[in-house]
Symmetry: C2
Subunit: 129 residues, 2 copies
């Protein structure tokens, strides 16, 4: 019975994660959608905002792929959308001309600052106090 309990505990933990993930993700989406952003969009914006400001808040795409929970292709499209909306700019990296730099625009920085408290509030709402 001990083994059955262990399996059940894992199963329970997994259900908890699934539930927390779904509820929080949905809540963030609802909070951010009025501003034209989804949860993934914010995740990227947040990383760029957190990226070394001494480097002009820019970041190589390759650098983001590892940190974000998205495939490389999804990230590429997401950045394209952000660029189209004027929130970030892309520019080729001069050292390695395969790479591209992604940088927040002023508009992107403002929007991030605007929605950050909303995301925090959503987290607080669904993840408890």
């Amino acid at each position: 019975m001990a083994s059955k309990t262990a399996g059940g505990q894992l199963e329970d933990r997994w259900r908890d994660i699934l539930s927390a993930h779904a509820r929080t993700m949905c809540e963030i989406d609802r909070a951010l959608h009025p501003h034209g952003l989804g949860a993934s969009d914010f995740e990227v914006l947040d990383m760029l905002a957190a990226a070394a400001p001494e480097e002009g808040e820019q970041c190589r795409v390759q650098n983001l792929v590892g940190r974000v929970h998205l495939s490389q292709s999804a990230l590429s499209r997401l950045i394209a959308r952000l660029e189209k909306d004027g929130l970030v700019t892309r520019s080729v990296c001069m050292e390695d001309r395969r790479g591209v730099w992604v940088a927040l625009t002023a508009k992107g920085r403002d929007l991030h600052a605007e929605v950050l408290p909303l995301q925090r509030a959503a987290l607080a709402r669904t993840l408890g106090a």
Copy 2:
């Protein structure tokens, strides 16, 4: 500073959930895909298998919607796929002819039994011991 820490803790917790969710989901998908199933498919199969066997392992769709982390429309399509693959059968509910019963077929029951240990193993791998 206390409030800043609180915000950071929430943020960390969220990142942990995101990470665990992504890794586990991916692992389950990889384990189940060779058998023609995704993580959501298994979730539904598992619920049907757990559903009161005295009722013939059947369940109303309405009953599943609340338990599964899927919209009603996604669930409807998912069940349609499972039915096409011969894993479940749909039949109208005689008491309330709007509702439909979903029941595991023998094939569905077998497949569930076959992949259950794989899912458990994936959970164990990514969720620790």
